[in-house]
């Protein structure tokens, strides 16, 4: 993966830049010690590492603004960072950059149940947003699997999804407003506790812009009343094709499960070995969760099971207790961990039209044979967001490159069948060089024109999202 060469003129000014930053921040909020900087050298795409020139941890919007003014004046690249759980290398620094971490901006600023919103500082973790309202029967819906660690700031930047987004939508559908520091340090507010934009929908533009348009310091989020209850059912099938058809039939009936998760045989076997969840021995399984009162849950599940029965399931496993529900979810929730036990893995994130599921799974199997790398598939089937996990050995020379080449082939396949490169993890550096597969030069130019408006000097996270050769002229 290529990154721009660090600019010598910036590195030469390091001392001055660091001392200017110290002037506007608390003493412990500027880190330029080589050892401490290691903590910021990568995100969850840990195959790529590079310590930044320095890292700052401001404690207020005013401090973020002061930092941006300095970096803007000095022409220093700034990489915003939440919790560093990006799987796309979104928070990967360059050697001449300043990491701007928002982890110390974690307060709850306002909770309003009557109007159903919460306003938080953007460094707050996803799960602790729900934590702040849970006791009163509310929750924040987007729930990435990384929710214990990841920050709302990162969720907004990546427009993150989660297991429950089939019913509740992803971040952009639950975000009502932001406070954001612009590249030149100006503080703006977009949206608020009301719905929809009065003019151009800049909020929709900021969400998913991967830290390239501004540094988000506060967010107003929609909160919802917790459903009365939830219960999963597990259904095993003897082929991927049949499981895929079943998903499509369920969606068509109008029942909206909160989640439809899919696992294929390699994944089932790996999680069985790891967790002993007691999953059936089958080619594919679905875990479908519905919500409501006990009676509503029974009603929905009986309709879902009736549809499944038409597809000759190997097994239909219902849950009669919270313990059994937990057991059904156990394997799915530990799938990544289980695959990680077998080997290193790369987690892809393409989305495909649900109808293409059988074809795409078949092709992935062929690619797996062709490259000689094992793949497990576990994904959000209701919306076609796939997460093929390619297993490789990082210590075997050349294997990472082989894995990346195979990953690229799978993502190209996703686009070919009408889907996209990334459904929820973002482009970052990981999919940056594949953008041309999905978009024409005109498409990309229009997107970069938006960055030109927000960040004319291209100092915010400049080496991400757009292929380096395509953005070269703008990055200067």
């Amino acid at each position: 993966m290529q990154m721009p060469e660090p600019r010598e003129d910036i590195l030469a000014r390091k001392d001055r830049i660091v001392s200017r930053l110290r002037e506007v921040l608390p003493a412990d909020a500027v880190i330029d010690d080589g050892i401490e900087l290691k903590a910021y050298e990568c995100d969850a795409l840990s195959a790529y590492r590079c310590p930044p020139m320095c890292a700052v941890l401001p404690t207020s919007t005013a401090e973020v603004s002061a930092v941006m003014k300095i970096c803007h004046a000095e022409g220093v690249p700034v990489v915003p960072r939440g919790s560093g759980t990006s799987l796309a290398g979104g928070a990967l620094p360059t050697a001449d950059s300043v990491i701007l971490g928002v982890a110390r901006l974690a307060d709850v600023l306002e909770v309003d149940y009557a109007n159903r919103f919460i306003r938080v500082e953007a460094g707050r973790t996803n799960l602790s947003v729900t934590g702040a309202v849970e006791a009163d029967g509310f929750f924040y819906a987007p729930d990435p699997s990384s929710q214990l660690a990841c920050a709302i700031a990162g969720n907004i930047a990546m427009n993150s999804g989660g297991a429950h987004c089939l019913k509740y939508g992803v971040t952009t559908n639950n975000l009502m407003g932001v406070k954001m520091v612009m590249a030149d340090g100006e503080v703006i507010e977009i949206g608020g506790a009301h719905l929809d934009a009065g003019g151009l929908d800049l909020l929709g533009l900021v969400c998913g812009s991967e830290g390239q348009l501004g540094v988000v310091t506060e967010a107003t989020l929609r909160i919802l009343a917790k459903p009365e209850g939830a219960r999963p059912v597990l259904i095993g099938f003897d082929s991927n094709v049949v499981a895929g058809a079943c998903v499509s039939d369920i969606i068509k009936t109008g029942i909206v499960p909160v989640a439809i998760e899919f696992m294929d045989r390699p994944c089932i076997e790996a999680t069985e070995a790891f967790t002993g969840a007691g999953y059936p021995d089958c080619e594919a399984l679905l875990i479908i969760e519905v919500e409501g009162s006990e009676a509503e849950i029974d009603d929905q599940l009986s309709r879902i099971i009736a549809i499944a029965e038409r597809h000759d399931p190997v097994e239909v496993r219902q849950s009669a207790s919270p313990e059994q529900s937990a057991k059904i979810w156990l394997g799915r929730k530990s799938a990544f961990g289980a695959m990680g036990q077998i080997n290193d893995y790369m987690c892809l994130d393409g989305t495909i039209p649900v109808s293409e599921l059988p074809h795409v799974l078949g092709r992935i199997g062929e690619l797996s044979d062709q490259y000689g790398l094992k793949v497990g598939n576990v994904f959000h089937a209701g919306d076609g967001n796939m997460h093929p996990l390619i297993l490789y050995n990082a210590n075997t020379p050349g294997e990472l490159e082989k894995c990346e080449a195979m990953g690229a082939d799978i993502l190209k396949l996703c686009v070919e069948v009408g889907g996209c490169l990334t459904g929820e993890h973002g482009v970052g550096i990981e999919k940056r060089d594949l953008m041309g597969v999905q978009y024409t030069p005109e498409d990309l130019d229009m997107q970069m024109a938006v960055k030109d408006v927000f960040d004319p000097g291209w100092i915010l996270n400049p080496a991400k999202v757009f292929p380096l050769d395509v953005s070269a002229a703008r990055r200067g």
Partner: protein
């Protein structure tokens, strides 16, 4: 001129040597009046419809009625429930999906399921320089690059002319029912609506006609709707009466289309605020408001005011500046709309961003110039 293909559209825009007035069905004439040659988007037809994936891809000029009929055959619908503006605006014509997306038109269900912008998965459009651009796609989850689809939704044809849109559609519920009460004040009504929306019962509509009904809607499986209406009647909506089926649907069409204001010559404001602020705003405006309909639990206010002077813009926007939100003058005489900013004036830094975005998308400033005040 009426354009029937994307290629012709790109040619027409590229070749234009003056301002263009972008038109779908022309039923939703909102904004500062635009002077220019009419460019009517007649790109029609269904490119793809996969009921099992809840996806529909159509030409932007496709009549909404056609789309509705197509979806109905498969037991589906558009989730965002856009209004029929012919009722409120007294216009005629055939409303198009491009117009609905360009104006981000969403009805009562917006409070629960989202706006037009939330259901638009992808778009193809021609920018002001005549370049064909696509963004998003046809799949439900897509974070590949910037989300220009959101920007296009609600840009009123000022940034680009939509040629094709992909939408996420929704299954029609088995049944719907409403709970209705009479005689509540706006403050009482908003408290009730808020309690219902804050319940776990998945309310899909919450409205109040000032001086008239307060209504809450439930949709879904038969058993669930029966259970939830009862739970609400036993709880926060004690004393509300049950209305079912077609009678229930009629209550919501009236709110969606702001039917009480039809045929009057009042000017109409569409105001978005935090629901709890609605009663306060009504108090502040006092007798100036001749009629009001509150939707989205109070968060969407339709206000009828005499079409004189600035239609109360100064007072209204002064209050909104304190509360947060925005007010759009959706109906008024052309002279009024030429004098009073139709869209909420934005704070300086946001206005600057809007102007620069407009300049990037439409360098010659020929697409609906002035319509949104940028």
């Amino acid at each position: 001129m009426r354009i029937e293909s994307e290629t012709d559209l790109a040619e027409a825009v590229k070749g234009a040597n003056g301002p263009l007035r972008i038109k779908g069905g022309g039923t939703h004439d909102v904004g500062a009046p635009v002077v220019g040659e009419v460019l009517e988007v007649g790109i029609v037809g269904v490119t793809l419809y996969e009921p099992g994936a809840l996806t529909l891809v159509v030409g932007a000029g496709t009549p909404l009625a056609e789309i509705e009929a197509l979806l109905e055959d498969e037991g589906q619908r558009l989730a965002f429930e856009p209004m029929d503006h012919r009722v409120l605006l007294g216009t005629s014509g055939v409303p198009t999906i491009g117009g609905a997306v360009a104006a981000n038109v969403s009805g009562p269900r917006r409070i629960q399921s989202g706006a037009a912008r939330d259901f638009t998965l992808g778009a193809r459009f021609v920018d002001g320089a005549g370049r064909v651009v696509k963004n998003g796609g046809r799949v439900m989850k897509n974070v590949t690059g910037y989300d220009l689809v959101k920007l296009m939704a609600g840009s009123w044809g000022t940034l680009g002319v939509l040629s094709e849109v992909s939408l996420k559609v929704q299954a029609r519920p088995e049944v719907q029912a409403s709970l209705v009460a009479e005689g509540l004040s706006p403050a009482q009504a908003v408290r009730k609506l808020s309690a219902a929306l804050g319940s776990p019962f998945d309310v899909t509509g919450a409205a109040h006609l000032v001086g008239g009904r307060t209504q809450v809607r439930l949709e879904g499986l038969t058993g669930a709707v029966a259970y939830r209406t009862k739970a609400l009647q036993d709880g926060p909506l004690a004393g509300f009466e049950l209305v079912e089926g077609a009678a229930s649907a009629a209550l919501w069409a009236e709110v969606r289309d702001v039917a009480p204001f039809a045929g009057t010559d009042a000017a109409v404001w569409k105001v978005s605020v935090k629901p709890g602020d609605a009663p306060r705003l009504l108090d502040a405006l006092g007798a100036r408001v001749s009629d009001a309909v509150l939707d989205w639990g109070g968060g969407l206010m339709w206000l009828a005011v005499p079409d004189t002077g600035d239609c109360g813009a100064e007072v209204l926007r002064g209050e909104i500046a304190k509360l947060g939100g925005h007010a759009t003058l959706v109906r008024a005489r052309a002279e009024t709309r030429a004098a009073v900013p139709v869209f909420q004036p934005e704070p300086t830094p946001i206005a600057a961003l809007n102007r620069q975005i407009k300049a990037k998308f439409d360098p010659r400033g020929i697409l609906n110039p002035g319509l949104m005040g940028v």
